[in-house]
Chain length 490, copies 2
């Protein structure tokens, strides 16, 4: 025999910034995606699963003269030919798919997509280089009825996965209204326009007064640093502040406030008309302002969109790590972006859509106790006699046939304590025990592990002696008794 050369053992770890998902992290997400799918389906949306790998050219984020175009994405070169990359979102692939197949796709094309995306960014706490996205978009519909539909669908999704009306708000705004405001300000300089957009984006953080300072002379940060302002006069800043704070006591009032801020601007008026139409669509659809409403202070990502934008947030409070209460915040966002397919075909194609933060929603539901952090595990059939594995397997088969999650302990059965430790690790509700004497008497023992662990914490000696957490039943009653015991546990 040739002696193998000793080599260093490989390290058992994921690459930096990547992670694995275990057990309920996977199954609860998958259940949630199933629920979301059923809502998308009811709205006539159909599934699309595009290739995870795209040509860099089709993703289209890179400068043509960069030798290795992997800024922000994971890219590699195929045999000195094309550069290819892992998709960084689900929207760029949708554009490619629509351009490639538009003659065979329905028009408008309502599609949903769920899957991993990859970003070549610096990983940090809770920030991974591979994560899930869950999108729904309508391509080829210019009418804002499509935007309203997305908002109503989002409302249905949230309620279907267990967030009742009152625990969330879907807020709608419009990039066109903002453009109207900028037009009215007479701000021609693109640099200044962009600066105003970036400032508006800080509204959530710095508030009305902060935005006014940043639009004007500048602002002393809470850290003590002085942030230069854009240098607008107070009069020039007024329309921006009027826009951001134009939410009134009801939708009619909000719209009339907005109309004032854009009076004289055609694009601004169109923007308000569109918001009015959306408000009317959702109202007639039966979605009150407790679910969906126009709110001009929604500014996140406004720069990217070309028309209506929407954001869903959870309004209930949770405790943060420091123990103080805070609102849970945003769980979904989207809007209209009308130049999706143009780079491929030269034709403008209207599109609107939403991206749902599934992992954030799961966190929210866990923190509210609406889904279990560690659900009940399988019934474990223990092995008292390794020669009788067949008997134990038969018990597990019987239980499974009755729809009960069950398994035989398949490790080394020598140490019975290890078997119970295993059952504990699996969060098993019940352990089945059939030793020699039980077998002879035609009985089995069923150990209630949940009651057992309660007693272990608090029982008196008398209670212990009674051993109420372990009962004897005749073998033939296995399924029946397990079923009734599980019913009282779950």
């Amino acid at each position: 025999m040739v002696k193998e050369k000793k080599t260093r053992r490989p390290k058992a770890q994921t690459p930096k910034g990547f992670r694995d998902y275990f057990d309920v992290e996977v199954s609860q997400r998958s259940e949630m995606l199933g629920t979301i799918t059923s809502v998308y389906d009811r709205y006539g949306f159909e599934a699309l699963e595009s290739s995870a790998v795209e040509t860099v050219e089709a993703l289209g984020k890179f400068l043509p003269d960069v030798d290795r175009p992997n800024e922000g994405v994971f890219a590699w070169q195929e045999d000195e030919a094309d550069w290819v990359a892992l998709r960084y979102d689900l929207t760029a692939p949708l554009a490619r798919v629509y351009a490639q197949y538009k003659n065979n796709l329905p028009s408008p094309y309502r599609r949903y997509a769920m899957g991993s995306v990859w970003r070549n960014e610096k990983p940090g706490p809770g920030r991974y280089r591979q994560f899930y996205q869950c999108d729904a978009d309508t391509v080829g519909a210019a009418n804002v009825a499509a935007d309203a539909e997305i908002c109503m669908m989002l409302s249905d999704v949230l309620e279907q996965i267990g967030i009742p009306s009152g625990d969330y708000a879907i807020r709608v705004n419009s990039r066109k209204v903002l453009n109207g405001v900028l037009e009215n300000m007479g701000l021609e300089d693109q640099g200044k326009r962009d600066a105003v957009l970036r400032t508006i984006d800080k509204f959530d953080k710095v508030g009305e007064a902060g935005v006014r300072e940043l639009l004007g002379k500048g602002r002393l940060d809470s850290s003590g640093a002085y942030i230069d302002g854009i240098g607008l006069s107070d009069a020039q800043s007024d329309p921006v502040l009027a826009f951001l704070t134009s939410r009134g006591e009801d939708t009619a009032k909000t719209l009339s406030n907005l109309r004032k801020t854009v009076s004289g601007s055609t694009v601004g008026q169109v923007g308000v008309d569109e918001l009015e139409a959306i408000a009317s669509f959702v109202d007639v659809g039966g979605y009150g302002v407790d679910k969906i409403y126009v709110d001009p202070s929604v500014v996140r990502g406004l720069g990217y969109y070309t028309g209506p934008v929407f954001e869903a947030e959870l309004t209930f409070e949770i405790l943060d790590k420091g123990g103080s209460k805070r609102q849970f915040g945003s769980v979904a966002g989207g809007g209209r972006y009308d130049d999706l397919v143009k780079r491929f075909t030269g034709q403008e194609v209207p599109a609107t859509g939403i991206s749902i933060g599934v992992d954030r929603l799961l966190t929210a539901l866990r923190e509210k106790g609406r889904i279990a952090v560690q659900p009940i595990g399988p019934v474990v059939v223990t092995v008292m006699d390794r020669e009788r594995m067949v008997d134990y397997q038969a018990m597990a088969s019987e239980l499974r046939k009755a729809g009960i999650r069950a398994e035989v302990y398949l490790g080394n059965p020598k140490n019975f304590g290890n078997q119970l430790k295993y059952a504990d690790q699996r969060n098993s509700p019940l352990a089945i025990i059939e030793g020699e004497s039980e077998k002879e008497n035609g009985i089995i023992q069923i150990k209630d592990l949940i009651l057992g662990s309660k007693l272990a914490k608090s029982a008196t000696l008398e209670e212990w002696k009674e051993n109420p957490a372990q009962i004897k039943v005749v073998r033939s009653k296995l399924v029946e008794i397990v079923q009734s015991m599980l019913k009282s546990i779950v």
Copy 2:
């Protein structure tokens, strides 16, 4: 305004060997995975979703001195540091995960995994570089009860997704028995042993006589080429042939035949004992030989495994592209491989598992007509008057609230023919029409598109005039009538 430099438009296509999945291709697979998950869950298996990107070192398929180790995988270098790659299967990541987390995982660890894998191979017809795998493995269980469990679970999976008993067979064999045969042949030379393995792997294609020729002097191929043999004598070849053809009229006979072929070999005897134990486990579990049986002629992939191996095939006939009948063939396979984790930790860890070919199963079910190739689409509410979009959206909302898949036509409504074309493309069962005169009279028209398309093919002029495929109902009965019409369609 600065004029944009004209650049070549990007090509809208996937990289070579990659593809997109549309609509039912995605939703039917996802439904099937849901069904499979529910069976895996009932057996106590838990989900694992490992990172799609692994270090090349952890995947461990490559020579250390190759500059770009991308043979067979998609790999790239991270910032002049580690080489990383897309996973090429779900087993190598399982080994890494188990080595990394073994102190926190239950032992034995039953896990299932479903997801894409990537192979950097030459693409061909029906052969893609990204495809799905659906695995279940038990790590840390040396007892063949674990293998039996996998086989029973596989049987449950097949029946649950719609392949009844009689339409499939799960065949079980053992690598240890084969090793016993090789031992008895006195074949010490590793090169010759490997050659025998490769020859055995051709049994399905060339049959008993062919294997005998290839083990001996060689064989004239059907193409006219002469394939050199291994040069064994007839007497040396006998045990191999005896092994391959040892299936008897029942399990007892098969096992006794096998016992003869390995008499005197310890490993061979252990192999037969294990097959006997598996046969006994599945029998007691209620799985007859019509579902699971020992068959020594199962040889696919035998070389890779260390103990029992299993293969599931569909036994019904389908028509191939040429129109001739053939058996559908293999849809799942697996077995025991006991050196999974060793390269990371130095310790041998027993493991056994299965991989299910989900896309092949979907093809089989479609070909048998057990799942729809194009299922019924959404009800389409047409737009006769673009000023009344709100009314049409309200109809869609009403239908959806009743659980009916429905949508408003959101394209340009000018051409009504395009709306019906759209409905047709979506395979819609019904179109709702409410023009000016209908609105005035408080009615709507419901067009039965399926009956309409039947009539269009075969109706007489009289039948046409009656227009039975289009009915008028009062607006308030929309949901009720649509519901009852859908019931008669589906």
